[in-house]
């Protein structure tokens, strides 16, 4: 069940209206801009954001928006440039203004933290009384449904505010939890991605308290209407009529008017399957076409590390810490052991049948690509890369040649790449196995991610108390070996300088 809690933010509402007006104006000549998908991605990120920092002008999201060039590119398509654009048409500035407004005073975060304080304070006083006076189920714990990006920030804020009995759970884990366990929690959500998560929440027996901006309520209503029509379709189904003999007449739908901006946000998710949907909620950075790289230099060393803002490293106390939280003077270990083989062996041992399939599917697309590279393109990587790009594959040449054709990469990151290879090669076997390859790719990636996470956890435990974990044990790695590998490959280093660099996501080697 969903219970909506509306948050009013006047400044934000005004800015969104302005955004909508400008976007509509840009449809006209001489701009002819229909839609800027990247901007809707960033807009949803902003509406979901619960980060607040009045001291900063440049949140990570603002940096990414500044770096994104899709608006400029679309202007250029019709010979316009952002420099000569009248200020009332500058959509980028409005989006940045929205971003700054939210980071300076995040009403969503404020509301949620007030609720948290109220819940956790009242619990202490009321809990004894409640247990005597009320027989009903007590909710003396709070659970916040979060994502990979916000998780650490939330944890920190909770610690800073000395809030007790608050737990953070990532979306994917949350949907797997048993409902009986959830009964004792007051559950907080602060975003609604679209219909899929709506349906999950709506069909739970526990209440999900969704904190949304008042204008986001229409998003909820739109989902509710969709749900209603789905039920009506079932109620009016031929099968039901056949079984029960009762005809059902659906009442007319309740009309809701939705702004173009919200409509675009809803439409973003329209073609996502469940997996893509859950991945996008779990890891909002996934959808971003831009990346912030942190270049970390160390005292007394020439080499530097280039890490993504959401990567984690070990600090002096062996805690895992986000790269974007690092400061000059911190001592860190960067986790970069090459345990790929080890993970693969472990996975194969656990699920040998599945992994034989995966090997087969991995070989299939790689063979077709290599064959094409050698025979059709006569080793002209430029030409092959050009054709792949034309089919929507955005990766570096070096990825295609060194990792896909000749390297260890089992599967490319996006499904598009395999589709493109099929479209160019028209290889029958590849075409017939396409769906199975995609399935194998997903199993492989998710297994590797979860094993990788477990391995990192094992290394953390080893660093803290010297114990060898299950994966290490299975692969006969002793304490001495691991100690040696860690000392050699990930020694503790002191940070001398941190600088950031923005790049396009496609410019990272897969």
């Amino acid at each position: 069940m969903i219970s909506i809690h509306k948050i009013n933010d006047n400044n934000l509402s005004i800015l969104l209206d302005k955004y909508e007006l400008t976007l509509n104006a840009l449809k006209n000549p001489p701009y002819f801009i229909e839609n800027i998908p990247d901007y809707f991605y960033y807009l949803t990120r902003l509406l979901k954001s619960i980060e607040s920092n009045p001291q900063t002008d440049n949140s990570e999201l603002s940096l990414l928006i500044k770096f994104n060039s899709s608006f400029e590119d679309q202007l250029l398509n019709h010979g316009n440039s952002i420099e000569n654009l009248p200020s009332e048409f500058n959509l980028k500035n409005i989006l940045l203004e929205i971003s700054e407004t939210i980071i300076k005073q995040n009403k969503k975060a404020e509301t949620i933290f007030n609720v948290l304080k109220e819940k956790t304070n009242s619990n202490i006083e009321e809990s004894i009384l409640n247990s005597i006076l009320l027989n009903e189920h007590k909710q003396n714990k709070v659970l916040i449904i979060s994502n990979n990006y916000d998780e650490d920030y939330l944890k920190e804020s909770i610690k800073k505010n000395y809030l007790k009995n608050v737990e953070i759970i990532r979306y994917k884990k949350f949907i797997k939890r048993r409902e009986e366990e959830l009964k004792e929690y007051y559950i907080i959500g602060y975003f609604l991605e679209g219909y899929r998560d709506f349906e999950v929440y709506h069909n739970l027996s526990v209440i999900i308290n969704l904190f949304l901006y008042d204008f986001e309520e229409n998003l909820y209503k739109d989902c509710l209407n969709k749900y209603k029509s789905k039920i009506e379709k079932e109620l009016q189904s031929e099968d039901r009529l056949f079984i029960s003999g009762i005809e059902y007449e659906a009442p007319a739908p309740i009309p809701i008017s939705i702004s173009q901006t919200l409509q675009n946000i809803i439409d973003r998710t329209k073609n996502w399957d469940e997996k893509v949907y859950d991945d996008n909620i779990e890891d909002p950075d996934e959808g971003s076409n831009e990346l912030i790289l942190y270049n970390i230099e160390y005292e007394g060393l020439d080499e530097a590390d280039s890490l993504k803002s959401t990567d984690t490293v070990f600090d002096e106390k062996n805690n895992l810490i986000r790269v974007n939280k690092l400061k000059i003077g911190d001592c860190i270990r960067v986790y970069k052991l090459d345990f790929g083989e080890l993970l693969l062996n472990t996975a194969m041992e656990f699920q040998s049948e599945i992994f034989n399939e995966i090997e087969k599917h991995s070989k299939l697309w790689k063979d077709v690509l290599r064959e094409m590279y050698l025979n059709t393109y006569k080793t002209d990587i430029e030409h092959l890369h050009y054709h792949l790009r034309k089919h929507g594959v955005r990766v570096l040449k070096s990825t295609v040649l060194n990792n896909w054709i000749y390297g260890k990469t089992k599967f490319p990151k996006s499904d598009k790449a395999i589709k493109a290879i099929y479209e160019i090669s028209r290889d029958l076997e590849l075409g017939l196995s396409f769906n199975d390859i995609i399935k194998s790719k997903r199993i492989y990636n998710s297994t590797m991610i979860s094993l990788g996470r477990d391995l990192k956890e094992e290394i953390k435990n080893f660093l803290t108390d010297g114990n060898i974990g299950e994966i290490m044990q299975k692969n006969n790695i002793t304490q001495e070996t691991l100690r040696k590998v860690i000392d050699e490959q990930m020694p503790l280093r002191k940070i001398m300088n941190i600088s950031t660099k923005l790049i396009k996501a496609e410019d990272v080697d897969e």
Binding site: E179, N203, L204, S205, E234, S237, D239, F242, I243
Partner: protein, 270 residues
């Protein structure tokens, strides 16, 4: 429950109505068991070499059929090696007309209590007299249930008000695990099979030419449905399903009824 009339159906109930689901699972299990019992209620045959036990009386005596002629059936008592007496095993001659009143064939040694559970349940469901009437214990037509072991184990919690046994230990059923290993609830040939996946059922039951009347699916993961439907055209069983997650796409050959929580809540509030 024969396939000649009626239709195949799948009913979806949201997962968290677990009490309703439990009741549906157990009632359907009981209902089908009894229908299946009735379906197998035909002329009893006793075969040479078969093990039989006495239906009535406190003693749990096991015999083997060693002779059959027009009038009589000859039984020899089966005892453990350590209990054998010097005079050799007792041989008894039972009138063919009376044998079904006194004896039932079994698959292996079983406790008196287990046999009583079975007899009591089916006598109370069908108004049969344990002392007089025939109780089939060999079943030529069976039903397969596909679901998690948890659902199956949960039948132990389903009890009857006037009978000692529970749903689990009163109905002869074989559980077959993923590796094909069988275990039974009673020492009687199975009336029902419970398996964790249809693949197992196909390999161990259907392929072995055991006649299957119904394939009943419980819980989530109806991912084998396409296969089941294509096998249905060969083997002619009925498909019944109680599912908790939406099936991927509706099949024209199976009626589908999805209960929404709004409807169930409404009915429960009446």
């Amino acid at each position: 429950m024969s396939k000649t009339n009626g239709f195949d159906i799948i009913i979806k109930i949201p997962k968290y109505f677990y009490k309703i689901l439990d009741e549906l699972y157990s009632n359907l299990y009981l209902f089908i068991a009894n229908a299946q019992f009735y379906e197998n209620y035909m002329n009893p045959e006793f075969n040479l070499g078969e093990l039989v036990v006495k239906k009535v009386g406190k003693k749990n005596r096991k015999y083997k059929v060693i002779g059959i002629n027009e009038r009589q059936i000859t039984l020899v008592e089966q005892k453990k090696e350590s209990l054998k007496d010097l005079n050799g095993p007792a041989t008894i001659y039972v009138d063919r007309k009376n044998i079904v009143k006194e004896f039932v064939p079994i698959k292996r040694s079983l406790k008196k209590g287990s046999l009583n559970n079975f007899l009591q349940l089916f006598s109370s469901l069908n108004g049969l007299d344990i002392n007089e009437d025939y109780f089939p214990t060999k079943f030529g037509i069976v039903t397969i249930f596909v679901g998690s072991k948890k659902i199956f184990e949960n039948f132990r919690n389903f009890t009857f008000h006037d009978i000692k046994g529970n749903l689990y230990n009163s109905i002869p059923c074989y559980y077959i695990n993923r590796d094909g290993k069988e275990s039974d609830t009673l020492g009687i040939s199975p009336l029902l099979y419970f398996v964790s996946s249809y693949r197992i059922a196909y390999q161990q039951i259907i392929k072995n030419k055991i006649r299957v009347c119904n394939v009943v699916l419980f819980g989530d993961g109806f991912d084998e449905l396409q296969q089941i439907i294509s096998d249905q055209s060969i083997y002619g069983f009925r498909i019944i399903g109680i599912c908790t997650t939406q099936i991927e796409k509706r099949m024209s050959s199976i009626k589908y009824w999805e209960w929404h929580k709004e409807e169930i809540n409404l009915i429960q509030s009446l």
